[in-house]
Amino acid sequence: MAKPTASPVRTGIVHLALIIYTLIALFPVFLTVINSFKDRASIFRDPLGLPTPSTFSLIGYQTVLGQGDFVLYFQNSFIVTGVSIFFVLLFGAMAAFALSEYRFRGNTLMGLYLALGIMIPIRLGTVAILQGMVAAGLVNTLTALILVYTAQGLPLAVFILTEFMQTVSDDLKNAGRIDGLSEYSIFFRLVLPLVRPAMATVAVFTMIPIWNDLWFPLILAPSDATKTVTLGSQVFIGQFVTNWNAVLAALTLAIVPVLVLYLIFSRQLIRGITSGAVK
């Protein structure tokens, strides 16, 4: 059903603006992908050209995959991102439930304290974090990264999920209590399914900075066994010579998993919105 006010011209302008924005946003990704399939000379000669039969080359992918370590780097990235998202969602949702559901002294203060991390970037604490990790013997482990990323993701998760959980009807939770559900069952079986769209949002917001992060892997886990994909692809960037084929191929490969995860979460997001949850 079209809205009566939407004239074709107006809709056209809106679509044009959106298309232009999409093109601008996709351009660097597009450039990365097409150049990853070209040989070195044609990357420099014609950076905007599509790969043709004469310029097509898989040398970048061969270098990246031939190095052997890249499978491991991907695995590291997956473990770090996946486990961090899991902990952020679990602890974030639990904290949000406590803040939104229970009246206790210092509730507001606790909420503000937990949200403080949104305003203060975690990188300010890098030195202290590094000292802590050294003292705990966690340097060059994935655990170090998971701990840091969980801490980094929690503030926003708590903030968003608290707001969402306040919209879950009190009557529903009380009905659960009268039916004999424990507070844990109410949380896991009644509240979590209802805030699934919010969980998907938080998962996306948490995932992307972790996957793309270069800072903490470089500082806390630069060893060969613990490198993430982003850090791993840096080996091809030298001070004097950069293996552009390999860099672009590594970046292209790094886009794929994040794209897949995003599609999974965004489908959850849409399904959550359209499932017609009863208020």
Binding site: D171, N174, A175, R177, D179, G180, A277
Partner: protein, 334 residues
């Protein structure tokens, strides 16, 4: 089976006292309705009885047993909520059976009890549906069914009809009355709608500002209100409450007369007034008069024609006049 005793219950949220000492006794099988304006504490009292809120002080006894520290699920109660509060991801059958499953009842018994409840509420065809696929009235029936399945000693209803439209409300009201007769269970019902209160209750508890104003059968409250508040709250249209000094009467602060206990005449009567507005409801005609002592509502049975701005004389039925003292308490005729 299901008696309830409330002794000096107080409840405060921080500085705000919501319940200021409630004493009440409900006998087994009674249908008791808490009624009052919004913010009077009626829902809070229901939640305290259910165990969803802890009272600040005082005792609650269900069946003679003190339940102050008993969790809601172990109190032998079931509750129906205003917003239905059905579990959106469970089918109607699972919604009704969840409480029993949690209590560890055998599957056979659960199935049997769901069967009884669903046939009682004609929900048999909907057992496998999700709440989202049901209409408002059906959802409320499922919520009631969920309560019945638990076979509680005490049913608690928290404004169960206020989300339904007018026609459905009447039907569901009749259904609840029928259920009460059928189950012979004790029911406590919260509403702000005095029609629901008058039609369903064995006993009405009128609450105002965290205190009980009066407890009595619907007709007791209608015929013998103890306070100005009850007099004004029960009955529709509202009782006329007139400042006694303006009428030149002494010995009372306020005079109360119900709109239906006033006769009108075009020629003569006790009070003279101008007609401001007339409402024709078919069975009733409601006339709003402006008199020397303020507005006056008159309710006549049947259809009557009066001109707006015309003059009418009103005469109250002498035996139906209520007098209230300075503390807003009724003055008993000596």
């Amino acid at each position: 089976m299901g008696s309830l005793k409330i002794e000096n219950i107080r409840k405060s949220f921080g500085q705000v006292d919501v319940l200021k000492g409630i004493d009440l006794e409900v006998k087994d099988g009674e249908f008791v309705i808490f009624v009052g304006p919004s913010g009077c504490g009626k829902s809070t009292l229901l939640r305290v009885i259910a165990g969803l809120e802890d009272a600040t002080s005082g005792d609650i006894l269900i069946d003679g047993k003190k339940v102050n520290n008993t969790p809601p699920a172990k109190r032998g109660i079931a509750m129906v909520f205003q917003t239905y509060a059905l579990y959106p991801h469970l089918s109607v059958r699972d919604n009704m059976g969840l409480g029993l499953k949690q209590a560890g009842k055998p599957a056979e018994e659960i199935k049997e009890r769901i069967g009884i409840a669903s046939s009682m509420l004609s929900l048999d065809d909907y057992l496998e549906r999700r709440p989202a696929e049901l209409s408002g009235g059906q959802r409320q029936r499922v919520a009631i069914g969920r309560a019945i399945v638990r076979e509680p000693q005490l049913f608690l209803f928290d404004e169960p009809l206020s989300n339904l439209d007018a026609a459905l409300r009447v039907n569901t009201r009749i259904e609840i009355a029928r259920l009460h007769r059928q189950l012979k269970a004790t029911m406590i019902y919260v509403t702000h709608d005095q029609v629901e209160a008058m039609t369903l209750a064995d006993k009405i508890v009128v609450l105002n500002k965290g205190r009980i104003e009066q407890v009595g059968s619907p007709m007791e409250l209608y015929n013998a209100p103890q306070t100005v508040f009850v007099a004004g709250f029960i009955g529709s249209p509202q009782m006329n409450l007139i400042d006694a000094t303006k009428l030149g009467l002494s010995g009372a602060k306020t005079i109360g007369i119900r709109p239906e206990h006033i006769q009108v005449s075009k020629t003569s009567g006790e009070w003279k007034g101008a007609v401001i507005h007339v409402e024709h409801l078919g069975a009733d005609t409601i006339i709003y008069l402006q008199t020397d002592f303020g507005p006056l509502t008159v309710r006549l049975f049947g259809e009557h024609r009066f001109d707006v701005d015309g003059v009418l004389y009103a005469t109250p039925d002498a035996g139906r006049i209520y007098r209230f003292d300075n503390e807003d308490q009724v003055i008993k005729d000596g």
